[in-house]
Symmetry: C2
Subunit: 293 residues, 2 copies
């Protein structure tokens, strides 16, 4: 059985230029939950100054429907304060395998970010003994500023995150460049328990499903995706950013891997949000499914 | 070294609702050739009554620039007459692995189509001893009317085509449903020389590159694709039909497989055509590439 971590409400909406009203976000999560998706990254407690699209995290949280396993991104101690006040039980921390990337995005080196996370994680653990922590390793294959990333660099950061107590790491192909042989190369360098490693592919150049197929064939079972490919407009309408949950589901289902998720309900879940954002669906499987009666 | 068979001018334009002027088609082929693509399926000698978009085959042919290996689809003896008069040296024949599909599309059973092709091929061989023949096996995985196709049925038709003298068969996932495990299953059933088998994937549900990766890993080296994903609107703008040549090239290049093709020139080649058709680019790799300066 695979696990799908739906990141549309957080990673998706964070990368869309238009902010979505809080009630619409809650309704989006409700639809995702009804489709059978359980693990949903719902928002981020990053400063509203930096990510205004998710500035309503504290307002959204109490509106989330019962029954889901919701996580929230927490960038630092202040974000953790807000998350704890809000009642968050599952947090995600965000670093990368490239100093150039973390410097640009969170104004720290990778090592500095791990120090911050270590403190954040310790406090979270003491206040939420039953809590759950995910660590993102962005630019797992290539950095937009520093070029290709050595698999051992990504593996080191992932291992550090698990050593300091993360329940899971998610390896992100942030700029959507990887191909299956790079997945194989990174996997060889990892040496980590497979069930603790999630793969977070972006479909910017059409290779995400191929990478999922490779990771699946290597024995990995945790995959991130974003309903409707939300967050997928780094370049132009129709271009892919996040791997669409619909494309992932189609691939898994047709490959004989059960997900327990209703494809049509997922395909419909993002439609009101896409409409608000003025976008048409960009997931190929979503379009194919919705065109059938 | 892989071979890419560019099918945009034929399979692409045949499936676009708007007809493109002949001079524009010739210029399109010119740009494709300049990008480094050599094998280009340029048109079809099917009746203009059925495919008006390609009704100018005889007019287009003499306008094709020197230096390419151009093929044309030939549906029957009458089409062959026209192709021979026009000076065509490479023909493609089109059948399928499903009777329901050929009945609907060419009004023959698969067996009847093979009889027709046998006669066509014999005459072509006698008039063009140096000629080249490709046989398409459509619905190689699934038929829109009869459902899933048994790999042995596809393998039988492919074998028959090679036995009657085709230089190559192209196995088509016509409705874009296949996933890598189906590619493996079909390959196990084939038992044919790998260099004589081309794979023709449609990206309708985002799985085409994953299927290419699988076929490549199984030792196959001939792949069909369509510049700009032309022909890719079976459902809605942005939905994929033919695998885009840009997506194929990106995958191959990043996988360390040389193609000798200039990605940017390919990405630009379809732009005037897309503009004529009133479409924006739908290939993810194309969009990603064109967004960079």
């Amino acid at each position: 059985m695979v696990r799908i971590v739906e990141v549309g409400p957080r990673d998706g909406l964070q990368n869309e230029p238009t902010a979505v009203p809080t009630a619409e976000k809650a309704a989006f999560v409700q639809r995702l939950l009804e489709s059978g998706l359980k693990e949903i990254e719902a928002t981020s407690f990053v400063s509203p100054k930096w990510v205004p699209q998710l500035g309503d995290a504290a307002e959204l949280w109490p509106l989330l429907p019962k029954g889901g396993l919701y996580s929230a991104l927490v960038p630092n101690e202040r974000g953790l304060d807000r998350a704890l006040e809000t009642g968050v039980q599952r947090i995600a921390l965000f670093t990368a395998a490239s100093d150039a990337f973390t410097q640009k995005n969170i104004n720290m080196t990778v090592a500095e970010s791990l120090d911050v996370f270590s403190a954040v994680m310790e406090r979270f653990r003491s206040e939420r003994p039953e809590g759950w922590v995910r660590g993102y390793v962005s630019t797992a294959f290539e950095c937009p500023y520093a070029g290709k990333v050595d698999p051992s660099a990504t593996a080191d950061v992932a291992r550090r995150l698990l050593e300091m107590g993360a329940d899971e790491v998610s390896l992100g192909d942030t700029i959507g460049v990887a191909v299956p042989r790079e997945v194989r190369a990174l996997e060889r360098a990892l040496g980590l328990p497979k069930e603790k490693v999630a793969w977070h592919f972006h479909d910017t150049r059409g290779t995400a499903v191929a990478n999922i197929a490779e990771a699946l064939s290597l024995g990995y079972t945790v995959f991130d995706s974003s309903a409707g490919g939300l967050g997928g407009c780094p370049y132009a309408p129709g271009a892919g950013g996040n791997l669409a949950t619909e494309d992932l589901l189609y691939f898994l289902d047709r490959s004989g891997v059960p997900t327990g998720v209703d494809h049509r309900l997922v395909a419909e879940a993002s439609l009101p949000i896409l409409s608000l954002l003025g976008r048409s669906p960009s997931s190929k499987a979503q379009l194919a499914l919705l065109s059938r009666p």
